[in-house]
């Protein structure tokens, strides 16, 4: 990341005061700045990522994975050996349960999507849909942690942290990794934690509402604040000058200027006043609306526009989400909440010429069972064996479907894609080799994709 000999030279130049203060000053700051832009391992297709995470487990067979055979076999008993129901006394017998929404082909590619996502359905020609996702745990906590960090057990760095660690950030007035979430998903702040990576790569939480980023609103009038910061700069500069231009002191001195800029840049990113009415309408936003997934999506576009490397949008918290054990009809308001905004985001990015450099990822922690303890049971259980996710933009082949589950939507059988393969592919699109992007920790090279073999899903690359 940092070339030690160059740093050493710069330090010595600064320390001996030959060049200080001057151009070295800035060079040194770049060297010490963990967020400085770094070259990818190979040319990147996607400069930025918008990662849409649907909390609770979206039913694949009711959204993106049509299963006519499941409808035909509705009510048929199947062996009860499923990971999320095995051993539960009331699940000693299980029966297939048909999808509750109608599927239709859409776009030129003809990809079938259910009536739960009418707007996203119109964008299928831009989407590479993966119908053969699978994961390794039937619990929300573990699978949510894994979808973000690759680990099902202990905390590990989040994918957004890995991306900023690998590539740095393009705008110093904004954090490199932003998570916009109205509430915490499963596993809490661990899903956007830097863990063993340096603190500079932790996700910055934005909670839609009045003050989306902590401490970003000036607490005194800005002209007063400027007086304070000018005095501070003077004091710190004097302090620094008598200490040989110590890089750590210099770096901190400079963060105040960045922070001052953030006070403008952050609200600016979240102030939609300069958006046209038709843009706001497309996201379904009412005037002055400061919450909702439409707000999150438009904010994501504006952050990416401003150079934020990785933006994650989480739709709901760890309760009241897609976890429809009791009644699948709960999918309706949740789909309605995200459908139009997601479609608007894809179109907006495309229209602005940003989609080719921005990778949009849509996913969830697992799917839902194609069966229940009775066929007319209203809900579905957790299903790690097969589910759907999709990607669009940033180097992804548009208008295609990759892989498949079996005829009843139970197992990912054709070209299965594990969570770690999914991660390897996202990193690949960002120009990062998932085997090389690592951090040495406790004698191990820690990687997002872990120790088991992971493959890049080449078929979906443009």
């Amino acid at each position: 990341m940092t070339n030690p000999s160059r740093r050493t030279f710069l330090r010595s130049a600064a320390a001996s005061s030959i060049l200080f203060p001057g151009i070295v000053n800035q060079l040194l700051a770049d060297e010490e700045d963990p967020l400085a832009v770094r070259d990818p391992h190979f040319p990147a297709k996607a400069k930025n990522v918008i990662f849409l995470f649907m909390t609770g487990g979206v039913s694949h067979i009711d959204t993106f994975d049509p299963k006519p055979e499941l409808t035909k076999q509705h009510g048929k008993e199947i062996p009860s050996d499923h990971p999320s129901t095995k051993g539960r006394p009331d699940y000693s017998r299980i029966f297939l349960k048909k999808p509750q929404w109608e599927f239709k082909p859409h776009g030129q590619c003809g990809t079938e999507v259910s009536s739960l996502f009418p707007h996203v359905a119109e964008c299928v020609d831009d989407i590479a849909l993966i119908r053969s996702m699978y994961t390794s745990h039937a619990n929300h906590y573990n699978s949510t942690l894994a979808m973000h960090t690759g680990s099902f057990t202990v905390p590990r760095p989040s994918i957004g942290s890995w991306a900023t660690y690998g590539l740095g950030t393009l705008n110093r007035n904004l954090p490199g990794f932003v998570v916009i979430a109205p509430a915490q998903t499963y596993a809490g702040t661990q899903v956007y934690s830097n863990d063993i990576l340096p603190g500079a790569y932790q996700g910055t939480l934005v909670v839609p509402g009045k003050e989306p980023v902590a401490n970003v609103s000036p607490r005194v009038p800005v002209d007063h604040q400027q007086l304070e910061l000018a005095a501070l700069r003077e004091i710190n500069t004097e302090h620094l000058a008598t200490r040989g231009g110590d890089p750590q002191l210099l770096a901190r001195l400079q963060t105040f200027e960045t922070a001052f800029g953030m006070q403008m840049a952050v609200p600016d990113a979240f102030d939609f006043a300069d958006e046209t009415q038709s843009t706001l309408d497309s996201y379904g936003l009412k005037p002055d609306q400061k919450t909702g997934f439409g707000w999150q999506c438009l904010a994501a576009r504006r952050l990416v526009e401003r150079g934020v490397r990785f933006v994650e949008l989480i739709d709901t918290g760890s309760s009241g989400n897609w976890d429809a054990h009791g009644d699948m009809l709960r999918h309706e308001p949740l789909a309605k909440n995200v459908d139009q905004p997601i479609a608007a985001l894809l179109r907006d990015l495309k229209q602005r010429g940003m989609l080719n450099e921005t990778l949009v990822v849509w996913t969830t922690e697992f799917g839902r069972t194609p069966f229940n303890k009775t066929a007319d049971h209203k809900g579905r259980e957790h299903h790690p064996l097969g589910f759907s996710s999709w990607m669009a933009g940033g180097g992804v082949k548009p208008g295609m479907v990759h892989g498949a589950t079996d005829e009843i939507g139970m197992n990912a059988v054709d070209k299965p894609v594990h969570v770690r393969d999914f991660h390897a592919t996202i990193l690949h699109l960002m120009g990062l080799d998932h085997e090389r992007l690592s951090m040495r920790h406790a004698g191990l090279d820690v990687r997002l994709t872990g120790v088991e073999y992971a493959h890049v899903v080449k078929e979906i690359l443009a």
Partner: protein
């Protein structure tokens, strides 16, 4: 002495050997050894093997080494290197090895590797070759990622050198400086001058207490010219209670202390604080470190049973083990991950070894096999860990009581005779009340008329209204009954009774609110008596009077036991109790199968209008309540009822909550069912292999836990405490916490993947002294803090030593998250120095945490930051911002990242602004801005402001808009945000 590791070459070798199962001596080796004469074998083991290890292995110790030659096995030298076979057995003259050690065509070992062997050593090898080079080593003797020879000669595992006691303390201090200065001179680095006294005192005080000195302390130290001035200051600081908090925090970092369990719902650990405070206390009283180690692994087994306090301490200390992270939905099912966390932390923390790696396979680099892992695993599987609760099993269990059994018995079972006596009295009273109640009840006969009755659904209310004729002495009674399911049956009652004609007097239960305790019967206006009763199985007054329900003076009740009750909220606001109780209201609360009633005894003959409503005041998913309004139409009943009430005096229930019989417990471990673990293939608990006996690491001898010894924790605690690695690792930590980096910079890894010590001799010297001092941490402090190295001025690193590894100057450092927060509170006069205890977690009985609704809280406190509540699943926002310790994994040293969001904290954070405002208020008590600036600089930086600083401050105050308070708050913010405040020189 040559123990420089050769990490780079070893990396290559060791990756190949990771697949080989760990066997200290392979069968092949055994058979080779068997065919060898005892004499030959003894000669090899005693003379040849140690010599090869000592003088040749550095370059020829692996399977593929310099010049292609390995001397690690017979196979190796037979195969030879680039120059052909190294040895022709029996023929020294034809053997390249012998030629080389005699400095023939090759010169081995070369000068930079210690030079030519001694004549005696050459003779040994020559004789060995003459004997036919008997060599039992087959090359397959590997342990984890090293050959056995490499492992046995690994620098960190060697016994500590004998160091003769110093004649005076100065001698040791000078020795440390000499060892450091030698390296500095060798590298031509320039020594920084000694730090000035103020800087030194600030450095010492922050280092040992986490807080700055006062200005007076700086003045006193600067003025103290006595030769022991420094020693006095160090003693003072080591005696300060702040020392234990600061250094205890270091230890809490490496043991990844947290106040929650870390599983899916992140259950709180309400008793973990006892371990935290035990650590602080242990540092404070300088518990010998070996004892400190033993206690954490086996304090419950080692403490003197007869000494109650010591016993409790021993149990609390094992909180170290219990604190291991829990996993999953049902954490009982994922205990294999918890044991891994224990083994991993134990390895890093005490031994500087990454043992956790060996869960799935033999260690790839260090001499630890997967069998070693399961040998330790068995010890912990034979230990019972306190269970913190989890989503699948909400109830905690196996907390360890801190009192001896007899005391517990005394608390739980009050003396039997007392109970019997009490029971007899109660029984007698109950019999009397029952008999009296029955006789009054008889008067009701067939005079009861039901006026109204209704079900009241959950959360609903039902009104009633009607007029009836009554006679004096008759009774109108409103009874509330529970339904099928009882609980959550608090019922709000509004009831007004008005004379229809004549005087139009009226009465209402509302009038009971202000003064419910007046009596039962309750004498109301115009001769009315209200009675609070229960009716099933027999008529009885509610006799117990509670002026202070649940410690809340606004709530008052009449009741019999837990329920039924008649209750009022006297407050003019709603009160949050077991449910939200409406302001200024009257409630009835039936018990299980025990309806409750309020009765009105008529003072008049004539028509009255009854109106009111009955409301379910505690909505839940249950079946509500029912009520009945009835008229007991006989004039004899009322007076008899009132007399019944008056004949039994009320029983006052003490206003304070009755003292709970709390048995203090610890989140700790005790012995469990003894068993050996079975090997788990690839770390999967479902794929079980053979049983592995419980034992110590094989590289350290592999001693087994004796039969009938229990889990083996007692033995383990001794093995760990007395191993030289443990002393080396701890002195290195102490050094790191003083200087900002260790002599071994990878302070959690002393294995082949770690870094070599910069000053191996110094590390060993310190470790030896540490042991000799009886493992006194404070003795180490005294030694290190007196060195010139510690007292040098800090400087910016130079190109020749960019990381200041050779300590030619001191390392400037940023305050840690805790130090920053403590300092802000200290400067503003808000710091509460009383030690923290338990956190205000919700009552355990109310816990219903799930992965959907995990435990989540931030508790505000003005106490020192070491007492803040730290959660595993959700990081404390402040600690996360300023690189606090990772509560999930061992943190040997704090990172210092510098990011703009930290600057935002210093610009806009409300806590920061509040501290600055409080500081301003303190400073403003001094008259005159010049004096105030002086005071501010003394308070924050313990120095006088320079004239130009005075001028700058004056200018700032002049230019900044607003009143003095605003100006001074602003200046306070500037000074508190300055690098001088945040960095220690």
């Amino acid at each position: 002495m040559n123990r420089t590791p050769k990490t780079s070459s070893m990396l290559v070798i060791l990756t190949f050997s990771c697949m080989i199962t760990a066997t200290a001596k392979s069968q092949a080796e055994e058979s080779a050894a068997n065919t060898m004469s005892a004499e030959a074998r003894a000669f090899f083991e005693k003379e040849v093997r140690p010599l090869l290890v000592k003088r040749c292995f550095e370059c020829h110790g692996g399977s593929k080494t310099e010049g292609g030659l390995s001397l690690a096995s017979a196979e190796g030298w037979k195969l030879g290197g680039d120059s052909g076979p190294a040895i022709v057995p029996g023929k020294p003259d034809e053997s390249l090895l012998i030629e080389a050690i005699n400095y023939g065509s090759l010169e081995m070992p070369p000068a930079e590797r210690g030079g030519k062997l001694a004549a005696r050593e050459i003779a040994i090898l020559t004789k060995w070759v003459e004997m036919g080079a008997p060599d039992p080593r087959t090359g397959s003797e590997v342990l984890g990622g090293m050959t056995l020879d490499e492992a046995k000669s690994w620098w960190a595992f060697q016994p500590l050198p004998e160091v003769r006691p110093a004649e005076s303390p100065i001698e040791d201090i000078e020795r440390i400086d000499a060892l450091l200065n030698r390296e500095i001179e060798n590298r031509g680095l320039e020594l920084a001058p000694a730090a000035d006294r103020r800087t030194l005192l600030r450095r010492l005080t922050y280092d040992l207490t986490g807080l700055p000195p006062t200005h007076d302390e700086v003045e006193a130290f600067t003025a103290d010219e006595s030769p022991d001035a420094l020693a006095k200051v160090i003693d003072r600081l080591l005696d300060s209670p702040r020392y234990g908090e600061q250094w205890g925090r270091h230890w809490l970092d490496v043991v990844r202390y947290a106040d929650t369990a870390g599983e899916n719902a992140d259950f709180p650990l309400p008793h973990a604080w006892r371990y935290r405070n035990w650590v602080i206390d242990a540092f404070q009283r300088d518990m010998p470190f070996d004892q400190f180690v033993r206690m954490q692994l086996a304090g419950d087994l080692l403490a003197d049973e007869s000494n109650a306090e010591e016993r409790a301490d021993g149990i609390i200390a094992t909180g170290y083990l219990a604190l291991a992270r829990r996993f999953g939905h049902d954490s009982d099912k994922d205990m294999h991950l918890t044991y891994e966390d224990v083994i991993d932390n134990l390895g890093k923390n005490f031994l500087g070894l990454s043992l956790g790696c060996a869960r799935c396979h033999d260690h790839k680099y260090d001499p630890v096999g997967a069998e070693d892992y399961y040998a330790l695993y068995g010890i912990f599987e034979s230990t019972r860990f306190a269970f913190p609760g989890c989503e699948a099993k909400q109830k905690t269990r196996d907390m360890v009581p801190l009192l001896p059994q007899e005391q517990i018995n005394a608390l739980v079972n009050p003396k039997r005779e007392d109970v019997a006596e009490l029971d007899a009295a109660k029984k007698k009273q109950l019999e009397a009340r029952t008999a009296a109640g029955e006789s009054v009840e008889k008067l009701v006969g067939d005079h009861r008329r039901v006026l109204a009755e209704s079900q009241v659904a959950e959360g609903a209310s039902v009104p009633f209204s009607q007029s009836i004729n009554v006679r004096k002495g008759e009774v109108i009674q409103l009874t509330v009954s529970p339904n099928q399911s009882h609980g959550a049956d608090t019922t709000r009652v509004e009831w007004q009774i008005s004379e229809t004609r004549a005087a139009k007097r009226s009465w209402s239960v509302a009038e009971l609110v202000a003064n419910l305790m007046k009596g039962n019967p309750y004498p109301a206006s115009h001769g009315v008596q209200w009675c609070f009763l229960e009716t099933t199985p027999v008529l009885m007054f509610l006799a117990e009077q509670r002026p202070n329900v649940d410690g809340n003076a606004a709530l008052k009740s009449w009741g019999n036991g837990n329920t039924p009750w008649a209750l009022v909220n006297t407050d003019d606001q709603q009160v949050m109790a077991w449910t939200t109780l409406t302001a200024e209201s009257f409630f009835l609360h039936p018990g299980p199968n025990r309806p409750v009633a309020v009765a009105w005894v008529s003072p008049l003959d004539g028509e009255v209008t009854l109106s009111g409503l009955v409301a379910d005041a505690h909505p839940s998913n249950s079946d509500g309540v029912a009520f009945e309004l009835s008229h007991i139409a006989t004039p004899e009943y009322g007076p008899a009822l009132v007399k019944l009430g008056q004949s039994f005096p009320p029983v006052e229930v003490p206003s304070a909550k009755p003292e709970k019989r709390v048995i203090p417990v610890a989140y700790a471990v005790v012995e469990g069912e003894t068993k050996n673990a079975r090997f788990q293939k690839a770390g999967e608990p479902e794929q079980l292999g053979p049983e592995v006996p419980r034992r110590w690491l094989s590289i350290f001898g592999g001693t087994q836990v004796p039969e009938d010894a229990g889990s083996g924790r007692r033995e383990l605690s001794e093995w760990v405490a007395k191993h030289p690695l443990t002393a080396r690792v701890m002195v290195n930590r102490i050094w790191e916490w003083h200087f900002g980096q260790g002599l071994v910079r990878s302070s959690n890894d002393f294995g082949t993947q770690g870094e070599a010590p910069t000053h191996p001799e110094l590390l060993d010297f310190l470790a030896s002294r540490f042991v000799q001092s009886g493992y006194s941490v404070k003795a180490m402090h005294r030694l290190i803090l007196h060195t010139d190295a510690f007292q040098r001025a800090s400087a910016t690193p130079v190109a020749a030593d960019p990381d200041n590894r050779w300590l030619s100057h001191f390392n400037r450092r940023r305050l840690t998250a805790e130090e920053l927060r403590d300092n802000l509170l200290n400067t503003s006069g808000q710091l509460d120095l009383t030690p923290g205890k338990a956190h205000p977690f919700p009552e355990e009985s109310t816990w219903k945490f799930t992965q959907h609704h995990p435990f989540n809280a931030v508790y505000e406190t003005d106490k020192r930051s070491v007492y803040m509540m730290v959660q595993r699943q959700r990081r404390h926002p402040f600690l996360a911002l300023f690189d606090g310790a990772d509560p999930n994994a061992s943190t040997p040293a704090r990172e210092t990242t510098t990011v703009p969001t930290q600057a935002l904290y210093f610009i806009n954070d409300p806590f920061f602004h509040a501290q600055a405002a409080k500081l301003a208020a303190i400073i403003l008590e001094t008259p005159g801005d010049d004096a105030r600036v002086l005071q501010a600089y003394r308070r924050l930086f313990q120095r006088e402001p320079t004239p130009s600083e005075q001028q700058r401050a004056a200018k700032f105050l002049h230019n900044y808009p607003g009143d003095a308070r605003e100006k001074w708050s602003a200046l306070s913010r500037v000074l508190l945000a300055s690098n001088e405040f945040l960095f220690v020189e």
